[in-house]
């Protein structure tokens, strides 16, 4: 076993994901306590150049992993084979990744091939006695558990957006491309269908404005979209709004929807059912607008407004536009 910490990065359209960069910076910060060296990797075509950005965050060695069978589209089988083959050669002490849609799909597979354990969806990472300790929510966020991987490497997936990005320094990364041999993937990606409207991935969003059953129609969701636009945010929804057909399921926040972790979450006309809270309770700041002063959402909100959202939202949107354009 070496003393490398490998950070598995993801990219999109030739750019590294911000959550990957945050993880790289976090690993660099923890490297001293672990007496380790951090290496950044990315699996897939065309990410070598994107990996350059890790340099200023304290990581000078990066590897783009390529393999015949990898295409521009995610393929679980191919990604699993490519990453595990490379990790078997490198034998790092730890592997950190993000539990994005793809990360949470293939990292447990990679861990199994390496005959080690994987902790998914951690929201905090510390070092005790030279080992990584991951804190993760369980029971829909109603409890937390601290856990460690006793196998090797220690593999941990971290929920996107939990670490901020520190200031960049002047470092420069050297990026190598390594091609590994893998078995032909058994899964075929027949098609990749884009969303009808481009939905910014909720799990990555910094600001989310969500509407609930109170919206009453898909047309009324424009109040939510307008506020989200004014804030530079993304639209979310409760299950009641999704089930009523006001908005597609891709927007649903909660236990049977997305787990989100934004800086700001604005819940409009959402009562705050436990299953909704499960998806957004780790948001840094929560705002609630609801006409029922006793709605449970207010117990979670840092800032609550008791009132009619149809009156308040247009005024709020207008005021925010003014502040932002000032």
């Amino acid at each position: 076993m070496g003393n490398d910490i490998v950070v598995v990065c993801e990219g999109d359209a030739g750019r590294l994901k911000k959550y990957s960069l945050e993880l790289v910076a976090k690993a660099a910060e923890m490297a001293t306590a672990l007496d380790a060296t951090v290496r950044a990797v990315a699996v897939g075509k065309g990410l070598a150049e994107a990996l350059q950005v890790v340099g200023p965050y304290g990581v000078t060695r990066a590897t783009a992993i390529d393999a015949p069978g990898l295409t521009g589209h995610y393929n679980s089988d191919a990604a699993t084979a490519a990453l595990s083959t490379w990790l078997q050669q490198v034998q790092p002490m730890a592997v950190l990744s993000s539990t994005s849609a793809h990360g949470r799909d293939y990292l447990p597979r990679v861990a199994t091939r390496l005959k080690t354990g994987f902790i998914s969806d951690a929201i905090a990472l510390t070092v005790t006695d030279g080992r990584l300790v991951a804190r993760r929510p369980i029971y829909a966020g109603k409890a937390l558990v601290d856990c460690v991987v006793t196998g090797s490497p220690q593999m941990i997936g971290i929920r996107p957006n939990v670490f901020g990005l520190p200031a960049a320094t002047g470092g420069v990364a050297t990026v190598e491309t390594v091609t590994v041999e893998i078995a032909p993937p058994r899964e075929t990606i027949r098609e990749v269908v884009a969303a009808a409207q481009r939905v910014v991935d909720l799990t990555e969003a910094e600001i989310i404005v969500s509407g609930g059953r109170a919206m009453g129609s898909s047309d009324n969701f424009r109040y939510i979209r307008d506020l989200a636009d004014a804030l530079g945010g993304t639209v979310g929804a409760s299950r009641a709004a999704v089930d009523a057909g006001y908005i597609p399921h891709a927007h649903q926040v909660g236990q049977t929807g997305k787990t989100v972790n934004p800086t700001l979450y604005v819940a409009c006309g959402i009562s705050g059912a436990i299953q909704h809270l499960a998806g957004m309770r780790t948001a840094r700041h929560i705002v609630a607008i609801n006409k029922d002063a006793d709605a449970p959402i207010f117990a979670r909100a840092d800032f609550g407004i008791v009132g009619d959202l149809f009156t308040i939202l247009p005024i709020l949107t207008e005021k925010i536009r003014k502040v932002r354009s000032a």
């Binding site: 995610y74 679980s76 849609a101 793809h102 949470r104 799909d105 293939y106 447990p108 597979r109 861990a111 199994t112 354990g117 994987f118 969806d121 300790v133 929510p137 029971y139 829909a140 966020g141 109603k142 409890a143 937390l144 558990v145 601290d146 856990c147 460690v148 991987v149 006793t150 196998g151 899964e187 075929t188 027949r190 990749v192 269908v193 884009a194 969303a195 481009r198 939905v199 991935d201 990555e204 600001i207 399921h249 891709a250 236990q255 700001l264 299953q275 929560i286 002063a293 909100a301 800032f303 609550g304 407004i305 008791v306 009132g307 009619d308 009156t311 005024i315 005021k319 925010i320 502040v323």
Partner: protein, 256 residues
């Protein structure tokens, strides 16, 4: 063909979670146990193929004696037989997946459905581990599925980031994780509940299945999430409350 379904018994999502005094687990006294909601979609997916593929549907659960209730529920919905795997000590996802995989291999199943995640540990890993141990391909989250004409494979829709849907084709054998939207799970009928009592339910020991494979993740300490300090709650003139919120966003938390 045989189809396997993996079901886990979990606390009802409305359960209040209370930690044990030593902080190593949760108090189970007042917990209402149910079938993991995503596993209901898995049972339904298997049952919809039972007729068309002339399949026997075998349902598996690894858990304590009470997990039998969840298996009976699956039998009442229409599964043909059940296997409970007994574990002396709690297992992590790796050991759970290994034990289930060995039991599945022994049963001769060629297609396995499970939930995309269990709502107790919220891990979303066991199906991928099962698939890897079996050397089968897996789609860990699927919200649409159809079997190819000729019954030689399956097409599923996998939701990815940004509202994107990946249309994935697989041959058999395969493991599929079921998400909300895949189907509407049936309720067990009264005759179904009666019949379930007669259906075969066998028991296996995880020790025998694991043959030395041991857990790789250790849970050290449970805790409850910190209470948020009470926030402010304001009401009044819309113009005025909106302004207060804007000031807060701008001056205090500085997001605008």
């Amino acid at each position: 063909m045989k189809i396997g379904v993996l079901v886990k018994q979990v606390p009802d999502t409305a359960t209040k979670i209370v930690l044990t005094a030593n902080g190593r687990g949760i108090e189970e006294g007042n917990v209402k146990w149910v079938m993991n909601p995503y596993d209901e979609y898995a049972v339904e997916a298997a049952l919809r193929l039972q007729g068309p593929l002339s399949a026997e549907v075998v349902v598996f659960s690894l858990g304590p004696a009470r997990a039998v209730e969840t298996l009976r529920m699956a039998l009442a919905m229409g599964c043909d037989r059940a296997v409970r795997i007994h574990a002396e000590t709690p297992l992590d996802a790796f050991a759970t997946g290994n034990a289930l995989a060995v039991a599945i291999a022994a049963s001769g199943c060629e297609l396995v459905f499970g939930g995309k995640q269990a709502v107790d540990d919220d891990a979303g890993q066991v199906l991928q581990i099962v698939a890897e141990v079996l050397h089968w391909p897996v789609v860990s989250v699927a919200n649409q599925l159809h079997v190819h004409a000729g019954n030689d494979g399956i097409t599923v829709h996998r939701p990815a980031a940004g509202g994107v849907t990946e249309v994935v084709e697989l041959g058999f054998p395969a493991v599929i994780g079921c998400d909300k939207g895949l189907n509407t799970p049936r309720y067990p009928s009264l005759p179904g509940i009666m019949k379930a009592k007669q259906k075969p339910l066998t028991e296996q020991q995880s020790r025998d299945l694991l043959g030395g494979v041991s857990p790789h993740v250790v849970l050290q300490q449970f805790s409850l999430p910190p209470d948020r300090p009470a926030g402010r709650k304001i009401t009044g003139d819309p113009e005025n409350v909106a302004q207060q919120l804007v000031d807060w966003l701008h001056n205090e938390i500085k997001v605008i």
